[in-house]
Symmetry: C2
Subunit: 193 residues, 2 copies
DNA sequence: CGTCTAATTAGAAGTGTATCTAATTAGATC
DNA sequence: GATCTAATTAGATACACTTCTAATTAGACG
């Protein structure tokens, strides 16, 4: 959903998010009517009705036909139904991209120039940082603790914590002080974290 | 459209008539998300997001699932689509009755106890009053001007004007000072008035 | 049990909206 | 052209809404 579509949708909802305007649409659905007539039906003053009609007209939901002094307003059924269809598809299909705005944002705030500035105390954020960190290791290869530390060290001084957390989040497994990266599919849905 | 339906519809439109809330719906259409995550995506503070979510929750458009401290919100797609269908039928079928609120209102303000208080200067209103007045006469019968006056007199003193107007609006026709009522189908669509 | 995290609630500031009265415009009528 | 009618525009008031910061609640963890 583009920025343009979004504001158009908001405008549409705003136009109908009002009892008086909704009643206007209802009254005009039956037949065209003059401003005076609408004011009488809704029990509002004419300037008020005029104001609401101008809002509906901006969005092309109604049009006006002048006959002498009298202004007859009528509904644009096509425009109305087009907008309604737009609301359907907008919420069904929904924005396609942007998926990982959140992760990107978290990473930017905790990692800079390949250096972890701070290990977030929040589990969800820590998980995102570790997910980034574990990409530094190859999948098939075995890493002795010594080597693991050497890789982590320039990224963050607290190698012990990161080592422990990587294992804790099941992103790496350890056997006799030899570490190996775990495929993402094995920890992705890990609901413990 | 009942009063209840109308306010429900207004509530629904109001709920979506806001950029932030529309974005929330968009973000939740993909998957459930925590408040913190949503705040990050929309670039708003958490209390603000919380506030918007509570509005959506009131209308049952979203629901919440707590997991520890974290509150995951997710969309109620059924509720959403149900509301969208409701908007379609509401504007297509439209209010059935109420048709002549306007005429009734005009009559009430100019006629009281079978007496015309004032002959409106407005053409449209005058037409409504005359439409009411002409019902006092039978269709087949012929009325000499004398008798016509006697019938009109107790309703309004200015018999001359009303007589002239009835003929002018083609609601009665005159021949040699004998008057006869014209069937409504013959003057109903008379666009001169 | 005290501390930390995630969320909500309370309260405040600024903006927007609905409605009204009064003034203005524009068409029709005498 | 003066007057009347229908509508719009201008300006004012009152209320609602969005967003923020600060304070509070409730769950998790050492």
């Amino acid at each position: 959903m583009s920025e343009q579509d979004l504001t158009t949708l908001v405008q549409f909802f705003k136009a109908l998010a009002n009892e008086s305007r909704l009643k206007l649409v209802g009254a005009l659905a039956q037949q065209e009517r003059s401003v005076e007539e609408l004011a009488s039906i809704l029990e509002l003053k004419e300037p008020t009705v005029s104001h609401h009609l101008s809002k509906l007209k901006e969005l092309q939901l109604v049009h006006m036909r002048a006959e002498g002094n009298t202004h007859y307003y009528y509904l644009d059924l096509d425009a109305l139904q087009a907008m309604q269809k737009a609301t359907l598809t907008a919420t069904e299909i929904t924005p396609p991209v942007q998926e990982d705005v959140w992760e990107t944002k978290v990473l930017h705030s905790f990692v800079e120039n390949d250096i972890i500035k701070e290990i977030s105390a929040s589990r969800k954020k820590r998980r995102i940082i570790l997910k980034w960190l574990v990409q530094k290791f190859e999948l098939e290869r075995l890493y002795p603790e010594q080597e693991l530390n050497q890789i982590i060290k320039p990224i963050h001084s607290d190698t012990a914590t990161l080592r422990r957390e990587l294992v804790g989040y099941n992103m790496m497994k350890r056997e006799n002080s030899i570490y190996q990266r775990v495929p993402e599919s094995d920890w992705r849905m890990d609901s413990n974290h």
